[in-house]
């Protein structure tokens, strides 16, 4: 029991260290550059305490739950040997984790606003809503597709750089044709799709697959799924902007 407590206190200390830079930056700018007092110091302290506890619990849960389940599912799929179901799973995981992502919902709403202001769609609540929903579906589809391709790459052992360079070429070509208003949103949508729960799961899945398949190296082949998931949305969103 004391062992467990000691471990917990040690990880609390680690979380404090992870957060120290932000607190330092905020204090420096607030007190020295803007020269203003910190408003609501008590609220700031409770909030920081919550963040520290949260980070500690999250990292523990990661090691106990998310990593093991991601890897065990990868092992089981590799053992079962059904490529079809593995790819269905990969697509579902990508699509399902993205479609409900709050950051994506926020970006989609903003994008609808931009489109309405730029005269790409009618400036009404209804058309903005359907535009935002369409965009969300597009991004979710593109992430599902990305994880599917990424998993296929791990199984076949394709070198990642050629696929990524192909993706870059796709982005550059689409940029030439997409309406200028959509480009900023499209480029940003690549970064916002991968959430805090998706990343550890997908990473564990990739590493688990690469270590269960003979001839694959978990370091060179296991990583890379997130890279696809942040590249395909850019291409798909520009495509969406061209079609609508």
């Amino acid at each position: 029991m004391t062992q467990l407590l000691k471990h917990f206190i040690y990880s609390l200390f680690e979380s404090i260290r992870d957060l120290a830079p932000i607190i330092g930056v905020i204090a420096f700018f607030q007190l020295l550059v803007l020269q203003q007092p910190i408003p609501d110091l008590a609220g700031l302290l409770t909030g920081t305490l919550l963040v520290v506890i949260g980070l500690t619990l999250f990292v523990h849960g990661l090691k106990l739950g998310l990593f093991p389940i991601g890897e065990s599912i990868a092992h089981d799929f590799a053992h079962k040997g059904s490529l079809f179901w593995l790819l269905v799973f990969a697509f579902a995981l990508g699509f399902g984790t993205t479609v409900a992502e709050p950051a994506l919902i926020a970006v989609a709403d903003e994008a609808a606003e931009v489109a309405a202001t730029g005269g790409m769609i009618v400036n009404s609540l209804e058309s903005k809503e359907s535009y935002a929903n369409g965009l969300r579906m597009t991004v979710a589809l593109s992430v599902g597709f990305a994880i599917l391709i990424g998993v296929l790459r791990i199984i076949k052992g394709w070198p990642i750089q050629y696929l990524i360079m192909g993706g870059y070429a796709g982005v550059v070509i689409m940029t030439g044709f997409a309406p200028p208003e959509i480009i900023g949103i499209a480029y940003d949508s690549g970064g916002v799709t991968t959430s805090t729960i998706t990343v550890p799961l997908v990473t564990a899945l990739g590493v688990g697959l690469a270590s269960s398949i003979r001839g694959r190296n978990p370091m060179t082949d296991g990583f890379g799924l997130i890279a696809f998931a942040s590249l395909t949305p850019m291409i798909f969103v520009m495509g969406y902007g061209m079609v609508i």
Binding site: D18, F29, L44, T46, G54, L66, G96, L201, G224
Partner: protein
């Protein structure tokens, strides 16, 4: 008591966000794989900790860091602070006017990345898989430097109003050149680190900075110019992580050569 009710609301929201993932995972496990999950109690405990942890984390950010960080982004980009007056066209060409903005962009990019939980996760995994060859701190710090440089350059782009895609395409070319020369084992991880960094902590603060800059600098439209910072933040870590790998390979190589020289071979 306000803290507790807010915490419960955030917890429920987190459960709602995690639910689809849990359904997919357990659904496939039970229906397709038809295998019992090993250590089920431990995994459920892990999920519970992740849920609780995220709820605490998000609620804490919402209470402490986000309001202050967003307020600071607003104050640092306020016209009075930047010295923007009526005939502002001339001043906005003077980049030194924006020194504090760029420094803030750099500092906030670096510090939020260090605290980003998904990067912690990837760093733990990379350390395990590489057998300790990739240090968690080496990876996290190089990613954080990449994000910091990316956000500062992205702010510069908003200030000058140059087109986003020039920067991104130039970045792609650099990434391709680095890929040719960097150690093969790091490539996939480096590409991953681009998408990993922009998550819970970074996105809201960076978005506030972009919005502040683009709505206050004359001639910029927040709807068109406010985007793009996230794109910078997900491109530059790729370069910095590959750079880190190249640098550590070079250092190891030099140490080996020196050892050989010492032995007089």
């Amino acid at each position: 008591m306000g803290v507790i009710t807010d915490l419960l609301v955030t917890l429920l929201e987190t459960v709602r966000d995690v639910l689809p993932i849990a359904i997919i995972l357990f659904g496939f496990q039970l229906v397709i794989l038809r295998k019992k999950i090993a250590n089920l109690p431990q995994i459920l405990m892990g999920f519970l900790l992740v849920l609780l942890g995220l709820a605490f984390f998000l609620e804490g950010l919402e209470r402490a860091l986000f309001p202050l960080g967003k307020l600071m982004a607003k104050q640092l980009t306020a016209p009075e602070f930047l010295g923007i007056t009526e005939n502002a066209g001339v001043i906005s060409n003077n980049w030194a006017q924006y020194f504090w903005v760029y420094l803030f962009a750099f500092a906030i990019g670096f510090s939020t990345t260090i605290a980003e939980p998904s990067l912690i996760a990837v760093a733990i995994k990379a350390n395990q898989v590489s057998g300790g060859a990739i240090g968690t701190w080496g990876l996290r710090i190089s990613v954080a430097i990449g994000v910091a440089v990316g956000i500062s350059l992205g702010s510069y782009r908003i200030v000058t109003g140059t087109p986003l895609h020039y920067y991104i395409i130039a970045g792609y070319i650099l990434v391709i050149i680095q890929t040719i020369y960097c150690p093969k084992s790091i490539i996939a991880l480096a590409y991953d680190s681009g998408g990993v960094t922009t998550s819970t902590v970074t996105v809201p603060l960076v978005a506030a900075l972009g919005l502040g800059l683009s709505s206050n600098i004359p001639g910029r439209n927040p709807l068109l110019d406010g985007f793009g910072l996230i794109a910078f933040a997900s491109l530059f870590p790729i370069m910095s992580v590959m750079g880190y790998a190249q640098l550590s390979e070079w250092v190891a190589h030099r140490a080996k050569r020196r050892q050989r020289d010492d032995r007089g071979e």
